[in-house]
């Protein structure tokens, strides 16, 4: 099987996964103990209002038909409307408003570890058993054991008090930003806007990326350590390849292979973790939207958002396979199972 037909197979496999993931959501929402219509009304409305909600949600139909329509709507990307949180607004519109903040947060939460944690790990791996190696390894271990929400709480407090604590005011540093507020994402191509948006998201992104940073440091270190001892590295030395080329050409690319699933896996974790970080930093993003939709019993919105998340996570999986296929020519060789 060639690399690309393997890749195609992986992509095909995503279809049943979206299908089953959506089915699980349906089971929880429609067959669970909670009546979505009643939840939307929250006891406030009368029977008439209740009936009309039931009807417009299609709850008066037999379950199998509900299921078919549910799937049909989602798979044709008709995500419906919010019923409680932002009554009557189309879900797509809400996503349009909330998603950019989460994407901005998630983007930096992936990039910061990639550009800080990974180089540190690689550096530690190339200089094993030195002081900086020990620091990086130990830091990585502790860093990844820290709960994001806790780190966020601490960071918010420290930054709001930075003036008293360190005699340096974070909020007015470089550009005026607030700590506990959603970032302004208008006209990012203007450098000052970009800087402000970046600075506003930086603490949250650092927190959200903290676990990844620790992981990438650790795994990067091990991967480099193991690759350096591979025979082909010795072979490259034996044919006179200079050290720099050995490291940049022969070590790094191979060391990246085990890191691909780590990095994409983390991108996926960010989806779930964003709830807490967004709550602490008051970033009105998708995680926060999902959270408030849940506690306000806006189940139609919750279902649609969940479908959106499933699509995102499947997308990340496809990206992972694509990266794999690009980096590692052995992919799909030797009949590795699905």
């Amino acid at each position: 099987m060639s690399r690309w037909s393997y890749f195609a197979r992986r992509v095909l496999l995503m279809i049943p996964i979206v299908f089953f993931g959506t089915t699980i959501t349906f089971l929880v929402l429609r067959m669970g103990p909670m009546d979505p219509a009643a939840a939307v009304i929250a006891g406030a409305g009368d029977t008439e209002a209740y009936e009309s909600v039931r009807q417009s949600l299609g709850l008066d139909q037999p379950l199998w038909l509900q299921y078919v329509e549910y799937l049909r709507d989602l798979f044709t990307l008709q995500l419906g409307y919010s019923w409680v949180v932002n009554r009557g607004r189309p879900v797509w519109e809400l996503i349009g408003v909330y998603a950019p903040r989460t994407i901005w947060l998630g983007f930096w939460a992936v990039m910061l570890p990639l550009f800080i944690g990974l180089p540190l790990g690689f550096y530690a791996g190339l200089n094993p058993n030195t002081l900086s190696d020990y620091l990086a390894s130990f830091g990585g271990i502790v860093w990844r054991a820290m709960p994001n929400f806790w780190l966020a709480v601490i960071l918010v407090s420290v930054l709001t008090q930075s003036d008293q604590l360190f005699g340096f005011d974070w909020e007015s540093w470089l550009v005026q930003t607030q700590i506990v507020t959603p970032p302004e994402l208008q006209r990012l191509w203007v450098p000052s806007n970009f800087l402000a948006a970046f600075k506003a998201i930086l603490p949250a992104a650092l927190v959200l990326g903290s676990a990844s940073m620790g992981n990438e440091m650790r795994i990067g270190r091990t991967a480099v350590l193991e690759t350096v001892n591979e025979n082909y590295v010795e072979t490259a030395r034996a044919k006179g390849v200079p050290r720099r080329t050995i490291i940049s050409k022969h070590v790094f690319r191979n060391a990246l292979i085990p890191l691909v699933p780590i990095i994409t896996g983390e991108a996926f974790l960010l989806l779930g973790g964003s709830v807490l970080v967004e709550t602490v930093f008051s970033i009105n993003g998708l995680g926060y939207l999902f959270y408030s939709a849940t506690i306000n019993a806006d189940l139609p919105l919750v279902g649609s958002l969940m479908f959106f998340f499933i699509l995102l996570s499947v997308g990340i999986n496809i990206l992972q396979d694509l990266l794999y296929t690009l980096i590692d020519p052995r992919v799909g060789y030797g009949g590795e199972g699905a």
Binding site: E230, N231, Y232, E234, T235, A236, R237, A238, K239, G240, V241, P242, R243, K249, H250, R253, N254, I257, I327, D328, P329, R330, Y333, G334
Partner: protein, 387 residues
Amino acid sequence: MAADANATGVDERRSSARQTQSDDVDAAESADDRLLEVENLRTVFHTERETIRAVDGVSFGIEEGETLGLVGESGSGKSVTARSIMGLVDDPGELLPGSSVRFDGRELTDLTEKGYESVRGSGIAMVFQDPLSTLNPVYTVGNQIEEALSLHRGLSGIDATEKAIELLEDVGIPDAARRVSEYPHEFSGGMRQRAVIAMALACDPDVLVCDEPTTALDVTIQAQILELLSDLQAEHGLSILFITHDMGVIAEVADRVAVMYAGEIVEQAPVVELYENPRHPYTRGLLRSIPSTQQGAERLETIAGEVPTPNKAATDCRFAPRCPEAFDACEEVHPVPVPVEEGAEDHTAACLLYPEDEPRKAAVDRHAAAGDEDSPESAGSTGGDSR
């Protein structure tokens, strides 16, 4: 592959090898003129508990166009010898002072990593044991050959690719133009080793160090690779250091043989001489352990016991615990390589039984005296060295 069955083959090979060498090489038997000269090589590895003396005072030389077989059990220090020559010994390993590796008259042991880079490949190239792990899995075979070509011959682009294809053809890879852009995992074991050899040749070396190049391959392919090596040797005038644990393979490829045991060379002789007239008790044991066709499927006779891992300078014969001919002095005197008998300068053995034609007592004294000369250096370097 019986020892005596091979003897004739060895004879032919040897004489043909002789023909390729000009007569003046024979005349200049003086050590310094040989292409690669290893002298008193000591490579140690520091572990937390002790210092392992993986190679402990090895000396040999290889002439132009000659194949020296280095043979020994695993753990005897063969591979470390090869890596020491290539300058590939890293922390926690090191070459002890006094070790010398001269290539083309140039001392290599004082070179920096940077300096070594110019010798590796173009001067001395290496072929490793496991062809799969030797090739970087994420680059095409062609890419890895071209890397060597651009480093040592300044070729790049189409020129490099063409040369790479040519090299692949030279090592007998069919359909080379297509295979040059394939990845190592798409090659079979034998083809991979051919590709590795092509990669080594791409550097245009004078000396080829082959570390168990056929061990990972099955017998028929093994024979093909050996044939390929000897063809290439004739074609390019290569000198080869051929390392193996397999006495049968050595018989086919080597002009001279050095037998290693526990970090030392215990016997060194021209191949025919060694097979017909092995002197060191260890060599005799090794030769008996070759599966013999005459005896059919009879069980191999192996030498009982294991190769010790030395961690201090020897004060005895390291083979003594396993040696069938050991006597009292073997526990007290460390043997050094000496001619096996008067006048047999090209056949040496490190055993107290030799020189055979001297009285035993005199021979032992001779070893003891040679050992004492050596000892200040060797004793001094072990005492405080174990961290």
